[in-house]
Symmetry: C2
Subunit: 315 residues, 2 copies
């Protein structure tokens, strides 16, 4: 992409977010209820260790395993405890229209940076026209177009892809609302297409394995689960790109090696096990069904594999 | 299956339900809120036109498009209006553990015949062990094993199959709770395997296209969306099988022909269009996003196709 084109798109999306954002894992107590104290402490730690911002109630936060009320309570408690609203995106896309409206209205009433919305994901084979009508219904009911909407593309879990055609429809009807996309397809062709085709949007790959290639074509950064354990190194690559360092590929390779180890087992239990080990706090290992915590043996093997790669928690 | 084997399994599941059950469609008003008046009238009509019972908040009822509160209110209103609780199953399986517990506890507190539970369907690749732990957690938290649990297998929408291995685990831990399976796989091999392998359970194929083959190997009946428009003919095949009529295959063929027409377009909008036409009440056509109502042209073509096959609404 030419320098002038890059400058143009940066200007076009000057008011949207960018950088390294962490979909924060949600600790739970021994009743499996959200543990606000540990959540807030972890959020602060993430912001201090390199994350530009946090996603509350993302996939990695097990959001879909919690009720609407539990999600509302967690966000309120996190803000009340001082997590900065302007550095928080909130996951609000639900199967039920009324739930999406309620969560979105709630998050916006608290002044967060924006919302990250899954499409309604129960039915399959929904057309772009129908999905656009569905997002439109949420925006209309929320009753404010003065917010930043980030679409969340995660077809492996939802079975409902966010297509360029859908994005075009929403850009036509809600140009001031649609602000970006988190693309968790894991498919570089998908992320590249979105980034090149929609320069007015902030496009975030859903894993840091695509951070450098995304930045090189004007991507906004990344929103990645791994930030829960590896925020410093991910941020360092982002900063090194901005300042034009010459070790970018090596940094990307190092991030990708760590990510590959994290991906050997189910991601959310893995992240909780690494945080538990890093803090010496085994309460962090708990997950809500249907997820299962790693066994002791698995957790020890994981930590050893990471250590063998020179991984240091939070560094 | 031998007569003695059939008798044995009938005895084993004497207390569970059987027959023709309709996952009732949910009418909505012009604000897209559940329309209790039309819902109750439709439920009565279904019970009078051949259905042994109703599923409230099934897939066909667009349950996942409504909030937990909307689902609770609909069930309470339906029972308050006189729909018979012993002829009602309630869909209560949600992504969030706490939602599944709340809906199940609520339904059981009202004395319904049982609950029909989807697995938590956001995460994919969940093991049988983890799914069993998830259902176990719901049952433990509900705090009563004195209820009838029907598992709901709909892998095309959930991406989370209910396997024979999962059923075996739950039969071991909760033999008095697990009562049956609705198998909406659409795969006869799947329905046959479940029916033959678990004679103590009531196995319902999720469509009447498999009603006769299922009854012939000891299946419990069917729980089918088509019952919303074709309850009489489906019930007539069920009864004809019980009394040993000699036109069973012809009856099955007729049902299957009608079903094929219903399946040409998205099922829920199709059923609502047929009910709207059958009653001359266009309010019935409304659906909640992300579904879309059929266009006038589509609805007219559908009704004409059905009429050409001799289909009569409700007959």
């Amino acid at each position: 992409m030419s320098a002038s084109r890059l400058a143009e798109r940066t200007e076009a999306r000057a008011e949207t977010i960018s950088g390294v954002w962490c979909p924060a894992i949600t600790p739970v107590d021994d009743k499996l209820a959200p543990d606000v104290g540990r959540f807030v402490a972890h959020g602060r730690w993430l912001l201090e260790h390199g994350c530009h911002g946090l996603v509350v109630s993302g996939t990695t936060g097990e959001a879909n395993s919690f009720s609407v009320e539990e999600r509302i309570d967690l966000l309120e408690a996190a803000l009340a405890a001082g997590l900065p609203r302007e550095r928080i995106l909130v996951g609000t896309g639900m199967c039920a229209l009324t739930d999406s409206v309620r969560l979105t209205s709630h998050a916006l009433s608290l002044g967060v940076a924006g919302v990250l919305m899954l499409p309604p994901f129960y039915y399959k084979g929904i057309s772009d026209e129908a999905l656009a009508a569905s997002f439109d219904a949420v925006i209309q009911r929320v009753g404010s177009s003065d917010f930043k909407l980030f679409l969340y593309n995660f077809p492996k879990l939802t079975g409902v892809p966010i297509t360029p055609g859908l994005i075009e429809r929403l850009l036509e009807t809600h140009p001031n609302t649609l602000a970006g996309v988190k693309d968790s397809s894991g498919d570089w062709q998908s992320t590249r297409t979105l980034t090149e085709r929609f320069p007015e949007l902030a496009i975030f790959p859903g894993a840091e394995t695509l951070l450098l290639p995304a930045l090189r074509i004007g991507g906004a950064g990344c929103i990645s689960a791994s930030c829960n354990v590896n925020p410093g190194a991910i941020r360092a690559l982002y900063d090194a790109f901005q300042t034009g360092e010459d070790d970018l590929d090596q940094r990307q390779d190092n991030l990708t090696e760590v990510r590959k180890i994290l991906e050997l087992r189910p991601m959310i239990p893995v992240l909780k096990a690494v945080v538990a080990h890093g803090r010496g706090d085994f309460a962090w290992r708990r997950v809500r069904p249907p997820l299962m915590a790693l066994s002791e043996v698995e957790a020890e093997a994981l930590v050893a594999e990471l250590a063998s790669r020179g991984f240091r928690f939070g560094a």
